[in-house]
Symmetry: C2
Subunit: 335 residues, 2 copies
DNA sequence: TTGTACGCGTTATCAT
DNA sequence: ATGATAACGCGTACAA
């Protein structure tokens, strides 16, 4: 039988309330009493029941991570980062993968909050920008943190990278190599990060005094197949780009496979750049020049914000990294 | 304020016990009573508290998935499969990613079981074969399912694919292409699947009457870098292989990058095959011939076994798939 | 077929 | 600084 708090109290010769006090790090407990309780806890290998704690108290010692992403790596890294921070706090992470195109998304998340009474919630895109989701959460008076929010940046605490700045940095890199016609493959429409990256693409062109050409921008949805489709379209142009920047690595990989199919040598004939968690970017050939988004760290920081004693709407920016792996300039000097 | 069972009872004009009966699908409830309760539940948007249920009853309506893998795709797919089956049952999945080289792994998992009182547990390799983990779980009288178990195959319910058979099938494919010197890159030592795949490699060689050459077998640990190392070693041999079969796709991708670095044309100069969830295999160039392990389905079936009313030690085999993507035979006729 | 009373293991309140 | 006792919201045993 699992030991209960009564067993600990009996062994330590104190009341159960005192055991509770020690367990919750409350003040005003004599040092020797505290030591006796800790000893008893260790002896019995006692661990409090999550269910009882959350029923009786005002905390559940659980936080939820509602996470979806086209990249499983992203989800995994995010979970790992959040969990790293949680274990240090004795808090349990409840990871809830969701489908971003589910029409019951808001309900699902609200249901999670309502039934499990988690102490906090971390949301990743695209749910971070779904008004319906945010509305439902607001009803529950629960603290929550947004990862890479688009519109709702000041609603609550958030972690993010400078997506526009990162995209612009990548563009400057490509421009410095001599590229003048640079294609862009957009992300999924419901992700704010996609717009932010496109904005960075445009601003860098502006700064370089290069006219924006809509024909060089193709829609996408962050998956491999979209990269293939966009790639075919861009290479079929009368004046094809000499470099292509995809809003994430999966699409860049799709673009890369199109280039290989056509017998193009990358990066000699065509430079390809991505943006992401650097999982796919390392595996493909040739490895991609990419913006590395430190997803694990973002998860860690999100949990850190959530678990802070004095939770507030802090916006925490995480630095990105530009990883150069293809350096060749354009084969033909651009127009 | 969240509605409680009393509120539902009052609105439906019945006792809380009757509401409870309806919620738990117990028999012997009048149809109109049942309907009234359902109506009241819907009106109030009532959802029972997980904490109260698990404290009062003998179920928690939660199951745990303790999962680690070198491939984040594997983890993600496994979580998704398990979750798919759980939502249909109104059960919540608690996903616990773990580090396979953590020395507190057994404690962590036992702690999860002890504190959350989950109704069941799903374990993935390599924890499935850690005696210490299995021992600790056994103390808790909890049902659990093993995914791809090695030694403990009859201990409890399990889902798996025929790893040896799959590896042999891939070998037959490579042999049919004319390859005679086929390299093999092993997986991580603590994974039973690694040994099973190596066994399939050897048995296929035996069946083909080809002598086993230890020099063609290299250690690995299932990650990209290991594929690179093993690849370098295999290609440095006096008589290098004409085909290489890696125990998973990440290592095959590493092997592939070595081939590219050396200017080898794949599959003309060298055929490369993998084994895995088909995530990496589709992204790299050229796409890998691989054994596809339907991870999502395995997760689904594992949860299905766990949630069955009459839980028993059923062993459920899931079919694998051989996906051909590189068909060229050896450049020089082997041996 | 339905209802009453009690207990699950912990925290919160209020006393000492 | 510590303890007695009442919640928390639900399932279970038993009664009706």
């Amino acid at each position: 039988m699992r030991p209960k708090i009564d067993d600990v109290a009996r062994l330590a010769q104190v009341s159960i309330k005192t055991v509770s006090r020690v367990l919750n790090n409350e003040l005003r407990v004599a040092e020797d009493t505290r030591a006796r309780v800790h000893a008893a806890v260790a002896t019995l290998n006692y661990r409090p029941s999550f269910a009882a704690r959350s029923l009786a108290g005002h905390r559940s010692f659980q936080i939820a991570l509602a996470c979806d992403n086209p990249s499983p790596y992203y989800v995994y890294e995010m979970q790992s980062g959040v969990r790293d921070r949680c274990v240090a706090e004795g808090v349990r992470m409840i990871a809830q993968p969701y489908d971003h195109d589910s029409d019951q998304l808001a309900e699902d998340i609200e249901s999670l909050v309502a039934t499990s009474g988690v102490d906090g919630l971390i949301l990743t895109p695209p749910a971070t920008d779904y008004a319906q989701v945010l509305d439902l959460i607001a009803r529950h008076d629960i603290r929550f943190v947004l990862v890479s929010p688009g519109s709702a940046q000041d609603l609550t605490a958030s972690v993010f990278i400078d997506n526009a700045g990162a995209a612009a940095a990548m563009m400057r890199h490509l421009l410095a190599l001599g590229h003048r016609r640079i294609g862009f493959i957009c992300g999924h429409g419901s992700y704010a990060t996609s717009d932010q990256r496109l904005a960075g693409y445009r601003s860098a062109l502006d700064d370089a005094g290069i006219a924006f050409d809509p024909a060089l921008v193709r829609p996408g949805n962050y998956d491999f197949a979209a990269g293939v489709d966009a790639g075919e379209a861009l290479l079929a142009l009368a004046a094809p780009p000499t470099a292509i920047f995809a809003a994430n690595d999966e699409m860049a990989a799709g673009m890369l496979s199109v280039a290989h199919h056509r017998g193009l040598s990358v990066p000699n004939d065509l430079s390809i750049a991505g943006f992401g968690d650097d999982a796919v970017a390392r595996f493909v050939w040739p490895p991609l020049t990419t913006i590395r988004q430190p997803v694990r760290r973002m998860g860690y920081e999100a949990a850190d914000l959530l678990l802070a004693p004095d939770f507030r709407a802090e916006r925490r920016e995480i630095p990105f990294e530009l990883i150069r792996r293809q350096s060749t300039g354009p084969a033909r000097s651009g127009g």
